[in-house]
Symmetry: C2
Subunit: 392 residues, 2 copies
Amino acid sequence: MTKKVASRANAISPFHVMDILSQAKQLEAAGQNIIHMEVGEPDFDTPQPIIEAGMHALKQGKTHYTPACGLPELREAIADWYEQQYEVKVNAERIIVTPGASGALLLVMGALLEKQKQVLLADPGYPCNKHFARFVEGRVTSIPVDANNQYQLTAQHIEQYWDDNTAMALVASPSNPTGTVLTQPDLKELAAAVASKSGHLVVDEIYHGLTYDGFHAPTALSVSDQVFVVNSFSKFFGMTGWRLGWLVVPEGYTEVMDKLAQNLFLAPMTMSQYAALAAFQPNTLAILEQRRQAFERRRNTLLPLLKDIGFSIPITPQGAFYLYADCSVLLNEQIPDSMALSRYLLNQAGVAITPGLDFGHHQAESHCRFAYTRDESLLIDAAERIQRVMIG
Amino acid sequence: MTKKVASRANAISPFHVMDILSQAKQLEAAGQNIIHMEVGEPDFDTPQPIIEAGMHALKQGKTHYTPACGLPELREAIADWYEQQYEVKVNAERIIVTPGASGALLLVMGALLEKQKQVLLADPGYPCNKHFARFVEGRVTSIPVDANNQYQLTAQHIEQYWDDNTAMALVASPSNPTGTVLTQPDLKELAAAVASKSGHLVVDEIYHGLTYDGFHAPTALSVSDQVFVVNSFSKFFGMTGWRLGWLVVPEGYTEVMDKLAQNLFLAPMTMSQYAALAAFQPNTLAILEQRRQAFERRRNTLLPLLKDIGFSIPITPQGAFYLYADCSVLLNEQIPDSMALSRYLLNQAGVAITPGLDFGHHQAESHCRFAYTRDESLLIDAAERIQRVMIG
């Protein structure tokens, strides 16, 4: 029987890594050991002080709805975080707490992207972005980026690709899948370029806090109060399963976001919000700093091992927990592209990675993503396994 | 400065009760006592066994993502619930766990409602439904319903209003704001009528379990395996702040919902899902039965008191926790409509209710909604206060 679904649902493609994942499950069920490097989620549990704050909230019966934009005290705490971490003053009224960054992206696309109008996105980039746009009947202009522009949109791209049908541009810093970071001058130029078009700039900062080599990613809020910033408690704060993020909007946009949030979500999860209040405490931040250092060590361990195998990683990523690798030299007639390579590595080496196709089309066949969300010893093991099956 | 937002965002109106709420807050800040009868949320905290299951999950470090469609064991538990409660067999594969019924409604609208195509909705009805449709660039045909048709869409309505641009019909049983319930024959006729149009029928069953007079609302799944059913842990199970609901789809629709859920939500909240496993335990169900009885007593107390004041409630609602009352006889030149009455009762009597305008346009000026989500003594107090200011 043919299923009758809306064309937007047909247009949204499933993640290619889901194929890899379901095959991995079968192999694991058959007793094979798989090293998972496809997972965009920290392997650490949520820090204990946050868990305890969550349990405390439950004990106190914090089980009812909160306001649609979130607990006032959490919005204040996030505002304080901007002051403490970035020396940027943000009125708490401008902060909308959302069900994950996913909720923030849905809100911002729904509020700003007119149907048929276009959003400029980097290719490669986070795969859901184009699907959020499609979900609200907007359109996407995918702009190919590569190592020459740090895998990021630039002011020049805005000039080149913006037309009368463009409404917004969305960038991510640090980026998924490439881990590259926009500097303050980059952000300033981007914000100015988008402002000159009277458009909206949305900056995804969900990997903020996870930066290395003594580098701190600047927030786009430090260059303009007219940008929209998406952030999350998932990655740096280690709260993936709690589904909590936030959106920072320019003055005057709170009301429209509140209205949409009331209708789309009613409210973010209550206990997660109380728990998140503990995310900014010194004892939590100390744990998070240890984890950040662990991620940095992992990056420093994995990167040369992959290069030794033949993967090309022209830019050492300064953030997130991904390596986006060019696998061209490893391809051949039997393994013609990165999807085939992902399957091959899973079956032959027991290593699961994400094929480039999940992040776009530009050079996707020759790229794949390694997540270093596993213990260093596992990363070394994975590299040895890959080495063995690729080179012998 | 004019804010640039998408037309869908402008088209979605805020809830009128928000005006009442913000005024109520001001009055409360000034020391006045307000009885809140506008709140669509049980006043009871979540049952203790559910809270304990949530705390246990946190202790065990259940803080990571789950599959996008939810924990397999929760999907199984919900399937078991249908068998136990309704004697209906539903394959667990057909159950999609969502971030609240809100998430389920967004999924089902996004998956099924083509842009520009129409969904048939009862007026009065749950206000967010039309906004979900608008959010994905669909359209709404609001069908006026009244006491003559139990405030519900009928097969005759489907015949009368369905045209080439119609894709789906959405009904709710028990309904918000009217509390009326669709019988099995009603559902059967509706399902047949929509099937004859090759359309989709979506049934919102989020108030299931909260039914009175020995009556049990039948699930639409008992009359057809081709309907889409939305449900929630919020109302009957008392888990509003946990943001957890589910969607039951016909065979063959799981894949498209999974794909959309991956993109829109990533996954429902993890700890809420583990906690919800305790919702179906006998000790929890015993607590919920006591609460159901409390709601029934409240309905039985409030209904005659409102009638004595002059409110007309032609149908005694069999479910939910709302009385939808015609206030025509109480209106006059100073209080010309239900919005004015809501303001008047708030200011003069310290009682907050919801004006009919939040549920549609049909006879909205002469109707308002009372939620009996407050203790019986408060309901009596509220009725006395209203009596005093309206009649003297």
